[in-house]
Symmetry: C2
Subunit: 345 residues, 2 copies
């Protein structure tokens, strides 16, 4: 777009513009903007050159104390929310602006009263995690000139709302392919809540990998529940007490996978010898479970960092950033997966 108006206002330059110009990911541009070390010098130089050429305005960075953005969680859990908070804080601290946090006690739709209070505090922008504003609420923010960005794993967000997520379908696909390559043929998936689109996408990706090689996942082995350890434990017990129990379980979160590990232990099953378990998220705790979890890395810190940078762009008048960015999910192999037992269980 910007190529056709080289004299256009610098206000139209976003990090997506720079990424497209240089031919790198938005994440890489964000790293350079935020002073991260892990960008190759040549790439860094090309990005810096493009930032200069586009007169990219690092406004927030230049105006410490200029304001505050509000980071709103649908709820605080222990690991997931902290990763998002770390990613957002890394950007706001460099930009020298405040970061206010709040949570909605698990509600995915903010109550109007809550929004009124938030707006009375005149935030520069709002970052919503796993929660969605009603159309009238979006209009309310727009009228007051308060930009907002959504961090979500749910790709159903309206295209007009800047959103950063990750590729859940691909995550489910990678988990299943790993199990299938190990030789597992009777595989279960415990996904997140059934009314959350990311849960459906992961289960669908998981099933697709089976279909690629002419298999189907037994519908009895496809479960939905909360992302909690308790849900993983309950579903794990149900699955493992079946006479035709699965040889592998793909959980909806690392926390949920910890509940599955507990269920396996209570059923006298060794992980990974008798049962393979895959988590989701790659939280720090996944390294320290027993055994350490094979999991799908969801780059939560990067997602939060990019979303925060997008919001600061919007706050600084650089936009409109109608982007929908999905970061890539990756398989991380640790100790909880192995070939299935030689004899049928």
């Amino acid at each position: 777009m910007t190529e056709h108006r080289p004299l256009g206002p610098p206000a139209s330059t976003t990090i997506a513009t720079i990424a497209h110009d240089v031919g790198v990911s938005v994440a890489t541009v964000s790293k350079v903007l935020n002073g991260h070390e892990d960008v190759a010098p040549g790439t860094r130089a090309r990005i810096e050159e493009s930032l200069d050429r586009h007169q990219y305005q690092r406004r927030a960075r230049r105006s410490p104390g200029a304001g505050r953005i509000d980071l709103v969680f649908h709820e605080f859990d222990t690991g997931w929310a902290m990763e998002v908070l770390r990613g957002a804080e890394a950007v706001t601290s460099v930009a020298g602006i405040g970061l206010a946090v709040s949570q909605l006690d698990g509600a995915h739709r903010p109550p109007q009263r809550w929004l009124d209070t938030l707006l009375s505090q005149r935030p520069s922008g709002v970052l919503l995690v796993l929660c969605h504003l009603a159309e009238t609420q979006q209009q309310q923010l727009r009228r007051q000139g308060v930009p907002f960005v959504v961090i979500d794993t749910d790709s159903a967000t309206s295209a007009s709302v800047p959103t950063v997520g990750s590729n859940n379908w691909n995550g489910g696909l990678l988990a299943a392919r790993h199990l299938l390559e190990l030789g597992h043929r009777r595989n279960a998936v415990i996904s997140g809540p059934p009314d959350v689109l990311c849960s459906r996408a992961r289960a669908a990706g998981f099933q697709h990998a089976h279909e690629e090689i002419g298999l189907t996942v037994d519908p009895e082995l496809v479960r939905y529940g909360s992302f909690s350890a308790g849900a993983g434990h309950a579903h794990g017990l149900q699955l493992l007490n079946r006479p035709d129990r699965p040889t592998a379980i793909f959980a909806g979160s690392d926390t949920q996978a910890m509940g599955v590990l507990r269920a396996a232990r209570q059923c006298g099953l060794r992980v990974p010898e008798d049962l393979s378990v895959i988590g989701y998220d790659n939280l720090p705790v996944a390294t320290w479970t027993d055994p350490a979890l094979t999991t799908i890395n969801q780059p939560l810190r990067d997602m939060a960092g990019i979303a925060t940078q997008m919001l600061l762009d919007l706050v600084g008048g650089n936009g409109p950033a109608t982007s929908r960015i999905d970061l890539v999910t990756e398989l991380v192999v640790r100790e909880s997966t192995a070939p299935p037992p030689a004899q049928p269980l």
Copy 2:
């Protein structure tokens, strides 16, 4: 104090005044102020009566949008910081004021530049977690009329600084008594960093419980390290590879204890049959480790809630709250402790 000046200004009433008047803990008063359910009806009525009689000013609650307090962590870890954040947010959300968060990348002394930026954003008050202001910085905040409260487990904080902590010495004592009652006589302690007073207090309490029954802890088995899983793993391996290895290890945090569990597994030791392990903090993850951790409950949410309430009292002009409040630590027995093996290892 207030009893002697019944006509004194209501501004002198703090939650400590109310707690003393009714004969309950500050935590209980805080629960009533913040609408928690778990207070007996009779107690609640007496507290409400005292609040009315003292004309306690729930100012923050009555002025939504009135301001923002800044919660400053020395660093974000996964579980500990989230518990503190939950406790603080529960109070600020009811009070209708904003909660800004930041972290100091592990520094226990805030840089001056950071403080200048923070103050330029005109916070109503500052809540410091495990970090301390220099005397000149304290004066700077006082000059600008910005009250501050410290959440710390370190009882060395100056008496002039309102601080909420927990009883670390008692925590160490409880852990050791539990092991001694189970019959363990060769016990190790991995505490936190040696330059943090809470680490020393826990180790001292642990040693004291041994001395109570005429035993001493082998100095070789007293270790200090970071609160991380990695530190627990490294110290655990060293301790368990000794020819005279301990039959029990008391860790400095639940996270550190997860590293000890990993070390035990790598050494072929079963927990609790061959080795007992006790954690510290009682984070949610302690329920889901394998085995579930016996641990010392440090009431982080309550500590943060009370500290936030104290700060709101100060912001509202209710003070001076020169209080130093230590909440009680408690033993939580789960699966990771048992009598020592019948035969010497």
